[in-house]
Symmetry: C2
Subunit: 222 residues, 2 copies
């Protein structure tokens, strides 16, 4: 059986979980405490981070963009990166937006300050970092609203890896209770649509030890 090494609040792990589920590829998961820098894990991925996917034949894949492109090539049904080159470029632009810009400005900051610092005993959360992240989150939600008002799905007419990357980041931030959904109706409605997909169910069942989800997290009518 293929195995996904992951962390609950890693948006990159969440993205791969959703892609595997959308493509109905079976897998098991194992939590990897990346901060321990286990020798066996570094042998799989010298970068030392998650996600890492180990295929049934032992093939090791790491870096979420490489894993998602690999799954698209080996399990093309359903297509998640589009067909025409321009369409595929738009999907990848938005995936890059969330995995680079949104992550740096919002997800990584909030997860680091609100969870990892406490968990690893690295001191108090930096309230300035949290405030900046929440300000940037508003800018991102405005852009998501803008796209949702103009397109059926984030990158165009079909569900794509762009929607999945967005959902991966937004759901991690939502687990921390930080999304002002009521001020972003288009993003909220789109999020509700994604949350109701079967692929999303396992993420809604996530229960991180010592960090309970806010009440609305698993609620489809949040």
């Amino acid at each position: 059986m293929r195995t996904l090494y992951h962390l609950w609040l890693s948006p990159f792990s969440r993205k791969v979980r959703l892609v595997l589920a959308e493509k109905q590829v079976e897998f098991t998961m194992t939590v990897e405490p990346v901060w321990e820098r286990r020798r066996e894990f570094l042998a799989l991925n010298p970068a030392g981070d998650v996600p890492v996917l180990v295929e049934t034949d032992g093939t090791v894949l790491s870096h979420s963009a490489a894993i998602c492109e690999y799954l698209e090539e080996t399990h093309p049904d359903p297509r998640l990166i589009g067909r025409a080159p321009v369409e595929r470029a738009e999907v990848r632009r938005l995936v890059g937006w969330f995995d680079t810009k949104f992550d740096r400005e919002v997800t990584d900051r909030l997860v680091t300050e609100k969870v990892m610092k406490r968990f690893l005993g690295l001191g108090e959360p930096d309230s300035r970092q949290i405030r900046t992240a929440l300000q940037d989150l508003t800018t991102h939600l405005n852009y998501i609203d803008y796209l949702c008002e103009r397109r059926d799905w984030l990158a165009g007419d079909n569900l794509s890896l762009a929607d999945i990357a967005a959902a991966a980041h937004l759901s991690a931030v939502d687990y921390l209770g930080d999304i002002p959904w009521e001020q972003h109706q288009p993003a909220h409605n789109r999020s509700a649509r994604i949350k109701s997909r079967p692929s999303f169910r396992p993420l809604l069942a996530d229960a991180i030890p010592g960090l309970p989800a806010p009440r609305h997290y698993a609620d489809l009518d949040f």
Copy 2:
């Protein structure tokens, strides 16, 4: 004519310049002062960063990963992302390594501290940041040495986007004079091989106003 909006020391712009040159795709370049957040530029790329490639028919492409995949699909000769899915995953893993990990730990830190802070009047360089970046650079160079000793090219038997991403970051850091080449012979020899390719020549001719390159930068026998 297609136009590439770029910045001299942006490793992502350098990567796209090298891909265009390897594929012999003609283009002109224009420097984009992203810190000015020009309205016309934000209309091209709401993320506000470079590179942005505007095709002759007006198609706008942004985020370097999306641009490189697009060029691979529309100009497949020579192939830079490999053929078999596992081979392509290895190329993309290494591209991700440089564009995510190497950038965060080394390139972005050094360019920010040594160039952008002074240029934008944001205060003195933070010597602790620079020291940490140079320590991390050593770890990266050790890994590059390790790969160079085992493979003809970074991802395997052929020149690929992995070599180009590596060259893009290393050349930006080299422009700042920060690479201890003499302690990393395998990485040095590989770098010399890449520098001697015709695609690299325009990068060696880069002369950033107010920031002259160190003497060895354009030297093929550095």
